[in-house]
Structure formats: C-alpha cells, structure tokens
Symmetry: C2
Subunit: 337 residues, 2 copies
Amino acid sequence: MRLLLLAHGKFTGMGGKTARGVYFYSPHEVVGILDRSLAGHYADEFFPGRRHVPIYSRIEDFGDDFDALVIGVAPIGGKLPDAWRSEIRYALERGKTVISGLHDFLSEDIEFSRIAERTHARIWDVRKPPENLRVADGSARNANTVLVAGTDCSVGKMITAVELTMEARQRGINAGFVATGQTGIMVGADAGYVIDRIPGDFMAGAVEELVLEVSKTKEIIFVEGQSALTHPAYSGVTLAILHGSYAKRIVISHDPKRREHHHYPGFGIPPLERQMEMYETLASSVSGGKVVGIAIDGEHMSDGEYTRYVEKIEDEFSLPAVDVLREGPGRLLDAII
Amino acid sequence: MRLLLLAHGKFTGMGGKTARGVYFYSPHEVVGILDRSLAGHYADEFFPGRRHVPIYSRIEDFGDDFDALVIGVAPIGGKLPDAWRSEIRYALERGKTVISGLHDFLSEDIEFSRIAERTHARIWDVRKPPENLRVADGSARNANTVLVAGTDCSVGKMITAVELTMEARQRGINAGFVATGQTGIMVGADAGYVIDRIPGDFMAGAVEELVLEVSKTKEIIFVEGQSALTHPAYSGVTLAILHGSYAKRIVISHDPKRREHHHYPGFGIPPLERQMEMYETLASSVSGGKVVGIAIDGEHMSDGEYTRYVEKIEDEFSLPAVDVLREGPGRLLDAII
C-alpha cells in the first residue's frame, strides 16, 4: 500500500505526531506528504536518515499514484477545513482508501460516505470503537506484557514501544505490539483500539482483549500507554491501560525539560521518582508490575545535557535511561529481556 | 411523581442497589415495588423505619396509579426478560414515563420507541451520555468539592454522599450533590452523568462540567465517586472522577470485611491506609485533596465489631470513621465543614 500523508502546516511541529509516526514507522511505502508550509522540500531534510519523501502543497500536485490518503493531523478547532475536504473528496472519487484518526468519523459524513459507496473507496476511521465491548475480567492477567507508560502526553511512548518491538524482532524474539492510540494502529500494530474513545467501564476490558488476542501468537507484548497518571484530563485512560494490560514490567517515558502538563499550565508534573512510585503502587494489586527502565524524550537537550542527565538518573534509580531516537533501543531492551 | 420500582428477585439483594437507592432517597413518592420473590410483603419489613411500600408480583396486580416505572435492577446476562418487556409495554401504553439505567437504551428499542411516540410516554435512559462532550481544562479547579471515594464497588459511596448532602442542608448549608452513577441521578442529584458510559478522554471533563454547573448555586458540592483506584476493570473511571472533581476533601468508603474486589476473586483490596495514600498521592498534583473521613460499610458487622473497629481506625488515622446508615452522617459532616 502506497501512502500519501496529509499533514498541512504541522508535519514537523507539535500537532504532527501522527503524520510523523506513520512516516517513521509504517511498514508501507510513504510516497508523498501534503504540507503547504513545507512544499518543495523533502521530509528527510527535517529528519535526517529517514525516508526520502517529497512534500507537496496540494493533492492535485501529487496526482493519483497512491493507494491511501492518511489524515495525519487534526484540524484546529476540530472542523475539517474546505481545502482538506476537497482533498479527501479527490482521493475517494478515485477509489482510494482514506485513513483518518479524527474524532469526527469520515464514514458518517454524508458526502464522503456517498462518494465512497459509489467508487467502492474504503474509509477507515481508526478511532471508531469496537462493537463488542466488555468489562475486564482478569483473563489476561498472566500475559507477558511490557507497558510503555509516561509522565505526560507526547513524550514518545508510541515511538519507544515500536522501537522496542522492532529491536526485539531483530534479535529473533517473537514480540508483539499492542497500540492504544491512532498512530500506533496506523503503523501496523498487531492489534489496537483508540482506548480514549471507549466508554470508561470498558477501557480496561478492551486493552485486556487486545493483549489476549496478541498473546496467542507472541511471546512478549509491548503495550503503548497513554498520557500520565497525573494528567488532569486523561489520567483515567492511563490507569485503565495500566490495569487492563496487566503489565509485569513498565517503561516510563519522560521529558526532563517539561515542568507542567502540555497544554495545562499550572498543573505540574511531579518528579520522575514520584511518578515511578505511583505506577508501581497502582500496579501492585492488579499485576504487581515494576518499572524496569526509563525512556527519555531528549528532543530538547544538547548532547552534553543528555549525557549528564542519563548518568545522573541511571545512578539514582539503577535503571537504564535511554532516548531510543538518540541511541537506539538496545540498552533499554537489555533491561527487559 | 409517583414511582413504581421494578426490582424482580433483587430488591433486598446485591443487585438491587438502584431500586433500594430510589426507595431510600428519592424525593418522589414510591407507590409500589415489583418483585416476584417478595410479593405480598412491605418494603419496610426488610428495611425497618423506611417507607411503607407494598410489593407486588406483576404490574397488572398494581394497576395504573403511578407516573413512572423505574427499572431498578439489571437483568442477568444483560438481555431484557420477556416478563419485564411486557411490564415496560404496560407502562408505555398508558403514557407513563419509564426510567431506565440499563446499558441498552430503551429509547433505541424499536417496539418501545414506537409505543412511546404514539402515547407520548417519555423514556428516560439515565446512562445516555450527554451530546456535548469536552476534555477537562482546569476551569473547575477552585470549586469547593468533597469527593466520596471508596475502596471497592458497592461500599456505600452514593448513600454517603446523599446522606452528607441532606445533613448539610438540614444544618442550613447550601449544599449540592453531583451524581456520577444512575442511582444518584435517579434520586434527584443537582446534576449528574453516568460517567462510566462516557468515552475515556471526556470523563474528567464531564465531571468538571457538572461541578461547574452546580457550583453556580451551591457553596459546597458532594461528588459521588465510583469503584476504586485498585479495581482491575473500573479504576480508570475512579481516577477520572478524582481529577475531574478537583476534590479538596476526600471521604473514603470502605467495607472492612471485604478482602477482594467484588466479583474479582484473586484481586485483593489493599489495606485502607494504602488506599488513602493512593488517593492523596494521585490528587496531589491536580487538586491537592486530602482524606478527611472514612465512611464505613458496616452492613456485615455486629454492633460490637463495629464499635471496636471504629475505635481502632479512628485512633490509627485520627479521622472520623462512620457508618452513616448506622449512626447518621453527623460526625462525618463535622469533619468536613
């Protein structure tokens, strides 16, 4: 499948997490990126060493040589801009698949669903919750799971989980990846639901179901966590995933430079040590999971800062601390297997 | 409004929580109870001192002298038994309101909705989530809220919150009650949603919205909590309510005889002290809430056991410990106001 990524205005910025995740990790070919603000450039100018993909201003400039259009960013204010609508129409009219992680389902848009029906195009709304929801019942409690949790949103949980899974596979380990968010699902998780879209009572049960399914064929499962236990808006999702995954081992993703929860000024992020205690305390009665490593989001650190920080916290906690994008996931995986 | 409660087989048992809650606390008149297993008795034979209400086998035995039929128990296996369907039909055919807390919405049942349309009967599906969901944004963080949390499901959180609200009002305090479950909503909360039915991302925001609304007219708000932070299936709902309520003060409901989570054998309930620590630790970065009292579910304790237990834990924690059904909520409220 040849993917075209819609990422207008955000491919390299904070809101471009999904587009970049697909660009970095999709097992499919990425043939083009739509971002008006970067048109004419190539993606690897911004992410050296990654795929060499041209960036276009409009879908018409790219043409028809793709199989699926991926909506890789969310529109500001939530409403689809007209320019995007016409690009989605362009894809559907040509029978192409449209993959969307938006809160509003494209398949429930009357115009889009009519076109798709006529052209047999497929609309995949990744956030759509599964039909058969159930509450957790403990049936996955013996699964061999590693949860990649974190101290805030956007600190690299999905990236760390994917990197650990790929590294494990390269070492010949039969590893699985369970996604709990849209990007993880889009980059080819073994199974996944967007857990934050599932009603509260069924969140842990949905994670348990994913873990059960993947554990049929995999010997170790990396589960993507969401948000943080201290996040004022999303902490419920975080805890449901901790409990529903029955994680025996926990990796904590952390951005040392972040003092407050992203978008939530005044809501501080407690020190890493406290967060590690919280995860272990809350895991204790359900899975007994322990923190086995720290995944650092070192994007905003110089090399010197990073090295000093790693030394300091490895010494403090006697656990490996690794930015998987900076030095690869090897040392972190060593602590897990 | 004159209420008729459907509670077949469970009015006095574990599954009758909603029916009993409405019987105990509804501001409306309860004119009859449907429970085949107890027909011919009066409700206050089982709950001395409470309302004197006759129990019937079938709705036809009761007749038409009511305004609303309340579905006060959930059917085993989730599917509506035929006998209940015919009783719901009976009510709707006569233009009566039907109030339901079932997971499956009666208003989406084709047969029921057609009858209701014809007779102008109202179907109120209490679990139905609100239309306009939003994420929490911190806007209720200065509200004066007391969360009645707990160490498991069914340990008296709703009862304690209602009793505290009523007692506060009797003392001339302008107190509000925010419900987070079906029974609380049915007994006349100032505002409420069934939070466990709301998608994960929006749970805390929904609680925040309720708190904001009620704080416009009330000086102190008692918020009903759900489940427990250590519950394997529902902990996400618990934490979303803790954070979304911005509770400054927390009351912990606890059944000292319970060792494992109800329906979850093998999932132990950590000691009360640990649970209190967990609530305070998780509240610390969002509301800074502190535990101010313990609400004991002493249903399965003798008077002697109860007295000794209260002495022991009041001494241990220097906090009031009160079974509000046994001795009234006065001492507990003293610790809050």
